[in-house]
């Protein structure tokens, strides 16, 4: 299945969901004063946010919206 066939909206949904999960975990890691909070931030929260950014950027690169004149 080609990436362009998946559709930008699904990409945006996945990217947003990853982003929200990562951001919420980042808040938890900032409020929790413990050495494990760094592990939570670096290996879970930042990874989810980073993945969300990558999914969003992939959607910009691979999902091609046809020009307005060619839409049927």
């Amino acid at each position: 299945m080609k990436l362009s066939a998946i559709g930008i909206q699904r990409f945006l949904r996945v990217s947003s969901a990853l982003m929200i999960a990562g951001l919420l975990l980042e808040i938890v890691s900032l409020l929790w004063f413990h050495p494990l909070s760094f592990v939570l931030f670096a290996f879970v929260a930042a990874a989810l946010i980073g993945l969300g950014i990558v999914v969003y950027l992939v959607s910009l690169v691979f999902v091609v919206t046809p020009p307005a004149g060619n839409r049927n």
């Binding site: 909206q9 945006l12 982003m19 951001l23 050495p35 760094f38 931030f41 946010i49």
Partner: protein, 202 residues
């Protein structure tokens, strides 16, 4: 500072939730720009801000002693004994009291903070997955350059005849400040039960 970062994270999460609920709004040019800011720029800034906050936090004494294995080392800073090296540095503010651990144990080199973080992660692994060594030892021993980072060039240190006589041995690490019989009481957590403690007046 942490409040600003949390506000930034909340704004990013609100924008992301808009695109989660209604991704179709991105058909407009203005929303496309907003999507780029909300799903790329702001989250990237949140990662940078979070990393910076966590790195600064890990320099605090409170952070170090929040780990169970480090509690006795934190207590040893309050030992009422003038020969107890870390306690004297802490109690007389020769190091910033809220960053006492970092001041003496940081690796003052260009990649030092990164190496320190990697060592910290190794210790977290030992604490939660394998088992921490008992007693805890510094890998490779305590280096003189960590003492000399502050003391080198200081008048009272340089003019001390004992120090000036062995300065070359100290700077070349041939003779240790701690294990050569001069300043050999560091932390000494094994004898904390018999120690007298200093109570800081508020």
């Amino acid at each position: 500072m942490i409040g600003i970062l949390i506000a930034q994270i909340v704004v990013s999460a609100v924008l992301a939730s808009i695109f989660l609920i209604r991704p179709s709004v991105t058909t407009g040019a203005a929303w496309k720009i907003l999507a780029f800011i909300g799903l790329c720029v702001l989250p990237a800034l949140c990662i940078v801000g979070g990393m910076n906050t966590h790195m600064q936090r890990s320099e605090q004494r409170r952070f170090c002693v929040s780990c169970h294995a480090m509690v006795p080392y934190g207590q040893s800073l309050y030992v009422d004994d003038p020969t107890h090296l870390p306690a004297q540095h802490f109690q007389n503010h020769r190091v910033p009291p809220d960053m006492a651990c970092f001041a003496c144990h940081a690796d003052y080199t260009i990649y030092g903070p990164l190496k320190d973080k990697m060592r910290g992660l190794t210790r977290i692994y030992m604490q939660y997955v394998s088992s921490p060594p008992n007693p805890i030892r510094i890998e490779g021993g305590y280096k003189n350059h960590q003492c000399l980072h502050c003391h080198a060039g200081a008048r009272s240190f340089e003019e001390n005849p004992v120090h000036s006589a062995i300065m070359d041995s100290l700077t070349s690490e041939q003779m240790s400040c701690l294990t050569s019989g001069c300043h050999d009481t560091a932390h000494d957590v094994a004898n904390l039960n018999h120690a007298k403690f200093w109570k800081a007046t508020q």
